[in-house]
Amino acid sequence: MQEINRAALIKRASELLSDGTADRVLGWKAGEFDYDVTPAVFHSVEELEKDFVWGDFCGANFSKYLIKETQKGDGKVIVFLKPCDTYSFNQLLTEHRFDREKVYAIGIPCDGMLDITKIKSMADGVLSVKSEGDEVEIETLYDGVIKEKRENLLPDRCVHCKSKKHVSYDELMGEDGEVLDSGRFDEVEQIEKMTPDERFAFWQGELSRCIRCNACRDVCPACTCEKCVFDNPDSGVENKAAANSFEDSMFHIIRAFHVAGRCTDCGECSRVCPQHIPLHLLNRKFIKDINSFYGEYQAGETIGSRAPTVNYSQDDIEPSEAVERGGDNA
């Protein structure tokens, strides 16, 4: 089997640049440390060989970048997509957000990324992170070299990976995987079991940490409005400062409704939150409810699918059956 590594990706991208299939590559650029790679556009084989990297921290979902990048030229842009990215890719195509003809998509397999926050919580001063099979070697400033099992350092979204299968690509490198059942609704179920007051307290505790930096929204491939209402001074709801601690919750609840049926559960929102707010749990609750009220639906599984939330049928569940109100804040 072909091994998928930095050299293999550079080789394939270089061939496609040289034979004229595409004229640029969306990839990752090395940073100061092993973990601070930045999305970048590469225009030549030389640029690729100099700065292109591929590894445990190349988690950023590139689908959303295609909206702007495809508008920048007539040629095709090569993009590398992990299985989870391909769902966002399809969803954006369903919403006609970029020109498919201007993209050459290469599916690449994924064993899960590494979570730098988890690594930093066990090591003081991270100098390098190297992984070798199931083991990760962390070189630190003060704790020597720490060895840890890879499975303990995966970000939550990879622990609960929904699929190793690519649902869209022009070509696939390596082997495709399967749709998985990795318990991604377990935590949602825990929250459902709480009493309304416990649940209110849980979310208030989480959301009160929000600093409204908007990273979650700006990284989200389902949030692609040209002008978000929350940024528009004329909208009347522009909300640079929350009037009270509940207003930030409203922002998140409204956003969760807005992406309901379109969120593919890529996990970017929770990855980027500087306050470590588990935003994916809100979205997963919507996905879980959609599955149980209208039948299994996975956004982005196919291009052009209609989410149950935008269809109406007479058998649709009544609000009173869907939710039960209770507790002090009902």
């Binding site: 930045t38 100098l127 930096c213 980027v272 500087p274 470590h276």
Partner: protein, 341 residues
Amino acid sequence: MRKISIDKLNSLFSAIAENETLYLPVDTKAGAKFEKWHDGAVLSDALNTVRSAKDFFFPQTENLMDFKVDGKNIEIIDTREECEDFVIFGVRACDVKSFEILDRVFLAEPVDSYYKNRREHGVIMSLACTKPHETCFCGTFGIDASSPEGDIVCHMTGDALCMDAKTEKGKALLSRLDSLTEETDGKAVEEQKKVTKERLAKLPLASLSADSFGAGKTEKFFGAPEWKELSQACLGCGTCTFVCPTCQCYDIKDFNTGHGVKRFRCWDSCMYSDFTKMSAGQPRLTQLERFRQRFMHKLVYYPTNNGGLFSCVGCGRCLSKCPIQMNIVKVMKKLGGKEND
């Protein structure tokens, strides 16, 4: 210099809190955070807090005044509360330096009286770093993490906390705590400084230089072609500006409560598309221009207006929090020329 044994920290904190509200870094599930001290609160071991200490003097939102409208009459209500004395324990050298950078903005004429009020009532007990992280580069801006500035400078040396008062405010507070503390010669502190300095010199970013930036370099960097590549992946989210101890931009808005108007101020970010939007639009039309503004401000504009002082303190927060891992170090290395190759 005074000292107190580590196992008596709680009684020290409780003695301070008797007269003044005391804040200190404690661990939360989202990292260390300044919180109000309560009996038994445990000081965090973390190197620094996730949010910076600027919040104490320049809070994310604040009510400036209220208006009550009654027919044709508008009543202006001063909502300001006179601040009481408070103490912040555990501020690191980088964050202490950020106060000087903010002071030059908010205390310059016309003085921001809201900021001044809080600044005058705050006593800073700084804490020297002993284990700087790979993302720290305070040294680039001449900040010595092993001996911070502050009203009372503290060092945690093995089994004791050593405290040295540097200002009138600091002396007043420390002398109040005399019965709890004992005199020390400061040898342990000197020893610790030496070890920390060796560690600082070995940090991966220890050789990062700001020499090619500074006052008067606007023309040299403004039109640099590198901004395009540096800014291309930026999401414009503003996280870097919100976690930064020296970012100081704000917006003032009116909020209609239905019964009147609340005029508030809140943090704003040069990274946002609606920043300083006027009738003619936002002066910086593209993300490249907004991105460039943030770094030019830190490295060129601020020094130009403030006798060469940079407005980055090298705390490294933007290094660890940017969703796409773009930050001031990468900007300095890309644009900084030979010194940073």
